[in-house]
């Protein structure tokens, strides 16, 4: 297979684009996709201070690399969850990545925040993945707002977005479908959130990470085995293999024609007010994360 642009030997084949690319042209293609996402969804203004959530996986590190190569000056944020066997590796991966590239990194240590995940898992009788997600989103938002960032970027890719849309569709979850977008404005105490990799698949971010010498962690979270999200991704991968381009068409079609319908019906938004302890938005007096922290302190 030859590169579509320069006719050299291809290194990456993309059935959804009916194209192959050599390493150099693939890097250009990838950056162009990120640039297009940012422009079309008006994600970043020239003077914006950008915070990027870095897990240590390929997607978040690829996003940081892409934004830097596009001329932005993003700051990294890593949430150290203190999960044995995975958090140490993830933190070191992110620290090494940022230090090698001279990028500023903020680390939020959940032990210091009174929210180490193993302890949360022992004390709270709800699914840990949902609480852990809530704690991470809380930390991202709080640091973004308190430290004066204009926008919070995450490495969610096309596979993440289509799997989430598929799950929301299976439940016909109108509220979540109204709120699913690669670019959400700042409102009600939430920072602006963007997903500049939404046009790129996991395969493409993995190839970009490989071709830009990014060392990332693949250690799965020991608490997330058998997550339904992974099963949905596998189903969609089968569909994509039979019909290349299905995922981007499903998601872009939703953004253009599906989401507006759900947004119009989304009239019963919860009334939010600042949490009495941390100031983050909540529909109760104390936010869910502060309630978890109190539970841990009491026991």
């Amino acid at each position: 297979m030859k590169c579509r642009r320069c006719k050299a030997l291809a290194a990456v084949a993309l059935p959804s684009h009916h194209a192959g690319f050599c390493p150099d042209c693939f890097r250009k293609f990838f950056l162009k996709q990120v640039e297009t996402a940012i422009r079309r969804k008006k994600m970043i203004l020239p003077e914006d201070k950008i915070l990027v959530a870095l897990s240590g996986g390929k997607d978040s590190l690829a996003l940081m690399e892409a934004l830097t190569r596009l001329g932005y000056q993003p700051v990294g944020l890593h949430v150290d969850l203190k999960i044995p066997g995975s958090s140490d590796v993830a933190r070191k991966t992110v620290e090494d990545f940022c230090s090698r590239r001279g990028l500023r990194l903020i680390v939020a240590d959940m032990e210091e925040w009174g929210l180490p995940i193993p302890e949360v898992r022992r004390k709270v009788k709800r699914p840990i993945c949902s609480i852990c997600g809530k704690i991470k989103r809380h930390a991202f938002n709080r640091i973004a707002l308190e430290q004066g960032f204009d926008v919070l970027a995450t490495g969610h890719n096309l596979d993440d977005e289509t799997a989430r849309l598929f799950a929301n569709t299976l439940r016909w979850d109108e509220a979540h479908m109204a709120g699913q977008s690669p670019s959400l404005p700042a409102e009600n105490g939430f920072a602006r959130k963007i997903k500049p990799l939404y046009r790129l698949s996991e395969f493409e971010t993995a190839a970009f990470a490989f071709l830009t010498d990014i060392e990332y962690t693949t250690a799965p979270c020991p608490y997330s085995r058998g997550a339904s999200f992974t099963a949905h991704k596998a189903l969609l991968a089968q569909l994509e293999a039979r019909s290349p381009g299905s995922k981007i068409s499903f998601y872009e079609g939703f953004l253009e024609r599906g989401r507006p319908a759900f947004q119009n019906r989304d009239s019963d938004k919860e009334q939010l007010a600042p949490c009495q302890y941390c100031g983050m938005p909540t529909s109760a007096g104390a936010c869910g994360v502060c309630r978890v922290r109190q539970l841990l302190q009491q026991s």
């Binding site: 596979d159 993995a206 979270c221």
Partner: protein, 65 residues
């Protein structure tokens, strides 16, 4: 025979030589875009030939959780 390293499982396999990368992916029940195929530091597209004695890394791309 060829020698295959599967990641992220860190599993080593010795397999009869397939003709192409696509045949290797099929044998491992992987789609074309479900894994990176790496030989000597180079990414391989599904049409590339496999040679006897090749050492190949298959890096699955789906992140768990």
């Amino acid at each position: 025979m060829i020698f295959v390293r599967l990641e992220p499982e860190s599993e080593d396999l010795t397999l009869p030589k397939p003709n192409t990368v696509l045949q290797l992916l099929n044998r491992l029940q992987l789609g074309r875009t479900q894994a990176l195929v790496i030989r000597s530091g180079e990414l391989l597209t599904p049409d590339r030939r496999i040679h006897d004695g090749d050492r190949i890394e298959i890096r699955k791309v789906t992140s768990a959780g």
